[in-house]
Amino acid sequence: MLGLIYFITVNNLRSYFGRKDLLFYFIGLLSLLFLLFKGLYPQIEKYPVWFLAFVIEIFRIHQRRKDFFIIRRLYFSILFCEYIIYSIPILILYAISDQWEYILILLFFILTIILLPRYRGNVVKYPFFVFSPFWTIFFRKNKLFLLYPISVFLIIKGFTINNIGLVYFSLALFFFGVYNILTQRELKYHICISVYKGEKYLLKQLKNTLANSIIVFSPLIMLIMFYDIVQIWIFFPILFLLLEVNLIKYAFFENDIHQVLVFIFCLVLFPFLLPLVAFPYLYYLSVKNIKLFQDVKTGY
């Protein structure tokens, strides 16, 4: 079993380390020790909870592994040993700072990850409207639901310690998650075959964006309302900006750089209401582009 653990661990770490490259191992070890004792050690006594975030990395490794069929007989022992090996740096930090309860919590999380029924094959269903399929695709592919516990924690913490910046930061996390969804381009063929032409197609997309954004943000809206109803004003500019991102995608459909630049411009000049002023023009450009994709003219 030890041999198997050794090979699996080496195989997983091989993407980071070269083979028989002693100098690289030496520099890597020095960097790790420096990071641990100079960078992280001073922080662990102040913020021990944050170091538990390492569990997310273990969860990610666990979800991506494809070797369950090889290790099925020694499933539990191999995975437990392997994840302990990965966690050694964090465990050492907790041990030398005498925070044994966090070691127990980390071990508990690792056990939970291993013993949780794997939903491999059981596809997680999302309640999104599928006129734009990227909401489901992006949440599924990048496991964006993992942002919820982090955001909920930040919002509660923000209101508890009276730091509204933490609340805004948690919303920003989701905003950029959704921003990435909205910049995903559907195939031109799918725009082309839709029965919704030009403006109708765009309006359908905007409604879809609005509905799905509300679905994504609703748990956070409710949580914020619970603490301070006045703070929900923040969702209006967020929703407006998301609609704008949707327009920017269609207005500059083939050019990623233009999309990013226009978005940054809108974001930076948001206090001067630039997105509001630019909205009609982006709408016009979007409709024009969609019509162009849908009306493939005969002749050159």
């Binding site: 596809v123 399929p133 489901t136 082309c192």
Partner: protein
Amino acid sequence: MLKLVIEKKYYRKNKVLESIDFEISSNGIYGVIGKNGAGKTTLFQCIASQTPYSGYIHLNDKPIDKDAVGWCPTNPFVYDYLTSEEFKSFFAKLYGLKKVNNDLFDLPKNQLIKEFSTGMKKKAYLNALLQKKYSIYLFDEVFNGLDIESVFTFEKIIRKLGESNIVFVSSHILPPLFKICKNIFLIEDSNIKKFKKNEFDQIESFFDKY
């Protein structure tokens, strides 16, 4: 009646189709054959209004409406991280259909398309595409990747569609086409040659020269 006139179709400086002129006066199944790169897919793209060309295509004396054409490409446009059911719902939304229709092919409901084989991906696409009714169906190398059972099922579906619609099927495998097609069009050197049912035996001899 379908009247098709493609004066020329170029990709940059490469001539793909030229002086294509034929008409189809009755419903049925029509085969399209040709070497790789001969222009079969381009012909389908022109009929489906997916690419610009010089000429015109009329259906019942009116310019063809792209909503009247259902096209299944060789490599279907599917999204890997959706299930076949979700992909079908997505197509239903694109088509503005209220109800998602029944499946032609049985597929795992709780599995992502990325885990499907080539044939299963094609089936997922066909399930989504054939929710809607069209006047013209274009199936580009549709038998590729399908298992034997699905080939027979799909032959039946094509025959049924061919009774009341115009169906084009392209393939590199001749026997199924000989069995189901009314006429076969051979694309060669940017031109098209039509073979009637009683001339099918000439097709093999046509390729013998290579």
